[in-house]
Symmetry: C2
Subunit: 557 residues, 2 copies
């Protein structure tokens, strides 16, 4: 038995967290990547733009990477793709595979990053492609974006399925439920490993069907006498389609507002996922040409994003839309964990403007794209995997998904609760965790990709807490004296009795320290800087109870 007869499943993101999903499959010395997602930064990550999985392992083995398969077009599965490709040597950039909409979205990202000469391959469900030692087939699943798919990978050891995000919607808007037949055949033929979505492993029952949202929206719209603003994820094309239909049925025009909303609907229309008649669709600047009760605005901003269209409307800062009493804002989405405060702020601003606000707590105007507990069990019962490795979830959800596996009869030694960087290794003798590889976060910070230990980020954290003090002093080598009065510049340091008074006290302290040091014949600028630093640190803590960064620059002339 050589290592080349081992199938290694190495999650680099998405385990022990929600977001930045990325998995590397290895067999016979070759690699296949499934998904390349990102996360959005938390407020503690000062100035960080995006969070990616640490894909050092991929870079170090770039010559073994034969392809990247993307399950669907959401940022947490697709968003890191250009960043991964950018870091790879052009010669090592592998082809990318996925369904039609997913690849249209991928192509749009690659274009933005000016990544040319990448092979972007559309793979329809049922079609089979060989990527290195792997045979890959996509299986149609339902989710909150069209063209979601599970990735079936066949190796000499057996079949494995990475579900990506899914749910079992029995009446999806486009009339195409998940491919139960193909999943059941997997179960019948024998599935070695299931890597399944755990996002809603804490929610009971079945998620309500997406097609139940349309009538709920219609009911809400029918009661509204003013304008209606609906906010939803821009990629949820079927949701927007239902908003448009409800508007249409009630004789209201529809305006799309927000960059990503307009972009996604353009892609969605061109691929036939949504049809909006030219009579229904109006431009944002035409909104005021119609009476209030003939307007529906579909807007980005369901997560309270600071620059989003809805947020700007709520703060009275949107160019085209000024909200007022009588308008109704419908949140056809729920808050992603961590966004609650931003969403609540937006909602409260809307109430302050006199708007009515309808959320999923008041009416069934939203449903999740992730299967609830009964759906996860249905997936397990359809595919009957030998091994289960819960994917896409924090430790809590992975734990709960593992419990569901046990509930349908998978024995504990065949359920693997993994974490990022920990490879599952399967060979003819069984399955076990292998040796951990480097995994974690890398940050996109301005133009560059860096690691979280990054000095710049560390500095920004310290600066944001306590501010900074710069000191400039010029000493003369020959004359044993301070040449000109020293400069002290404060930024971000709270000054109880005013900045001038604090600056004055610090300047006096600097001169005292330097006078004393020079008196003791100390001339080494590094040593002088150290002395100034230490004396100021003590004084600053005494005066402000803070520990600002202190940067002394002593110049000898």
């Amino acid at each position: 038995m050589t290592d080349s007869d081992t199938l290694r499943v190495l999650p680099l993101g998405g385990l022990g967290e929600i977001g930045k999903n990325m998995t590397v499959l290895e067999y016979g010395g070759r690699m296949l990547m499934v998904d390349a997602g990102l996360r959005f930064p938390t407020p503690e990550m000062h100035g960080i733009d995006l969070v990616l999985p640490d894909f050092t392992y991929v870079l170090e083995n770039a010559d073994r990477l034969d392809g990247i398969v993307i399950t669907h077009g959401h940022e947490d599965h697709l968003g890191a793709l250009p960043w991964v490709l950018r870091e790879l040597d052009p010669a090592d950039r592998p082809p990318v595979f996925g369904r039609r909409l997913t690849m249209a979205m991928a192509q749009s990202k690659l274009d933005e990053h000016k990544l040319r000469d990448i092979q972007v391959n559309t793979l329809d469900p049922g079609q089979v492609v060989t990527i290195g030692p792997f045979t890959v087939e996509l299986i149609h699943l339902t989710h909150s974006i069209p063209d979601a798919a599970g990735v079936l990978v066949t190796t000499p050891l057996g079949n494995m399925l990475v579900t990506g995000d899914y749910r079992f919607d029995q009446s999806p808007v486009d009339g195409r439920p998940a491919d139960f037949d193909r999943l059941a055949r997997l179960g019948k033929d024998g599935l070695l490993l299931l890597c399944g979505d755990s996002t809603n492993a804490d929610r009971d029952g079945f998620a309500p069907s997406e097609s139940a949202v349309g009538p709920a929206l219609y009911d809400v719209f029918a009661r509204c006498e003013g304008r209606i603003v609906v906010t939803s994820f821009a990629s949820n094309i079927h949701r927007v389609a239902q908003v448009v239909n409800a508007a249409d049925d009630l004789g209201r025009k529809v305006a799309l507002v927000g960059r990503s909303m307009i972009k996604n609907m353009k892609i969605g229309r061109s691929l036939g996922h949504i049809s909006i008649s030219d009579e229904t669709l109006i431009q944002p600047k035409q909104i005021d040409d119609y009476p209030d009760d003939e307007i529906v605005i579909v807007s980005t901003g369901s997560q309270g994003e600071p620059l989003s269209a809805l947020r700007r409307m709520a703060y009275g800062e949107h160019q085209a839309v000024t909200l007022h009493a009588g308008d109704t804002v419908v949140f056809s989405a729920t808050s992603v964990p961590g966004n609650e405060r931003a969403v609540n702020d937006t909602i409260d601003r809307l109430y302050q403007l006199g708007c009515e606000v309808v959320t999923a707590a008041q009416a069934p105007v939203h449903t999740s794209g992730h299967g609830h507990r009964e759906e996860l069990k249905l997936m397990l019962n359809l595919t009957r995997p030998r091994y289960l490795m819960p994917f896409h979830g924090d430790f809590k959800r992975i734990h709960l998904h593992a419990q569901l596996g046990a509930a349908v009869g998978i024995s504990a030694d065949r359920i693997f609760r993994g974490e990022n960087g920990l490879p599952l290794e399967i060979d003819a003798n069984g399955a076990r965790f292998g040796k951990k590889v480097q995994a974690g976060m890398v940050f996109v910070d301005g133009l560059g990709v860096g690691d979280p230990g990054d000095a710049a980020l560390h500095d920004r954290r310290a600066l944001s807490r306590d501010g900074i003090v710069f000191v400039v002093a010029i000493v003369s080598e020959e004359e044993d004296e301070i040449v000109s009065s020293s400069e002290v510049v404060l930024r971000g340091v709270p000054a109880v009795d005013g900045v001038e008074s604090l600056t004055e006290q610090l300047r006096d302290a600097v001169e005292r320290t330097l006078d004393r040091a020079i008196g003791e014949q100390i001339h080494d600028p590094d040593l002088l800087q150290q002395l100034v630093h230490d004396d100021l640190a003590k004084l600053l803590f005494k005066l402000t109870k803070r520990r600002p960064m202190i940067v002394p620059v002593i110049v000898e002339v």
Copy 2:
């Protein structure tokens, strides 16, 4: 009719927000303050410790302030008290009134701030005190801290009631439900104005009784085989009492962990709100002396606070308690809006350690201290106020509380949806909003109190986003040249190709700018600094796509 015949109700905090409740009542040229609360900062308020109401109006009229009445001991009603008193001239510091526990907590705060010579007066319910032109009586209500009270204020124009936080618990742990009789008599005698808690105006029905939490805790505890950690608000003394009773019934010892938990229980025990036998209570360092199934730990940290005991346990950094598989952590609290992410992080860390976690979503181990919608209606029906002004809520909750007022028959022109700084003015002719006064937030930042426009905070925000560049150059007045090579110091600026390379490029740019300027006979240091600033700003944006703060110091020698 003179202005002195007008009753002014001026909310300075708690309207259009959750937290920092403060209201000023004025009559006959005199003032009475009801509550002096604070809020905790959001992550955007870099380095800010506390948020207070802007009480400029009080400071400007300090000689007219006759007293401060506190409804109960929570931070959002009491926490600003020492900060207000500190800012007042000692001669203007008025007496403080409230119930026993509330005044014990107030005294402890005043001691911490070394505020001596403040008159702290305990006022029992039913007792009547004259404060300036106002007659004040406290009415016993139930809440999630003992000794909560509504403030009944009598003026020649009539009675008004500020409820503070309350609920109608029909079976409170201490057997003392709200004083329905006194409230009903108010309704019978005629209540001019009700200022009522709106916190749960969005929640249907009645909140479950606090005494239902005890049996739920017992049921959860009875299933646990390892140690149990219960986290709750430290001020919820009756909740802790129920934890202790359940532990006692199951033969488990109880250890209190966390500074505020220990402090509050000490006050609670001394005032008779909680009894813990010395046999049950053990010290944290004794925990390891007992088998796991004989231990209950009561801990702070229910909100995921970074330095709290539970957070440190979850991160394996607590001195006395090391959690492991088999332990169960019970969250006997819900997340305050904005804390969801910190709480979820803590929970997930606990799962990673192998602990079981029980929250209010899984078992009824928590109930709210704020009345739900039926309780708000009960208050309205008991007291039958002529005018209603919803208090303690964001705009959404104020709106919903106003709707409840309408539902019980108060006509729209007698319901006032206010905001901070907007006084309600009542005289013999009726009620209306008056002219707005200054209101908003002030920040406690280190040792000082400042306003949010504060330059230091503004700087910290900018620093946290983009960092700072500091430039030192020395030019000679006489010789038209740069004396020594300039220094460039970066802090927090992302450097794509390394800090050294970026510093090098910036240093070259500084010298180019100075050479050119000096060549053009520019010597004014201010002008040179401006030129260096502008040239570096352009270059930095080109190189990093960031706009760091730039501080040039050009010294002439």
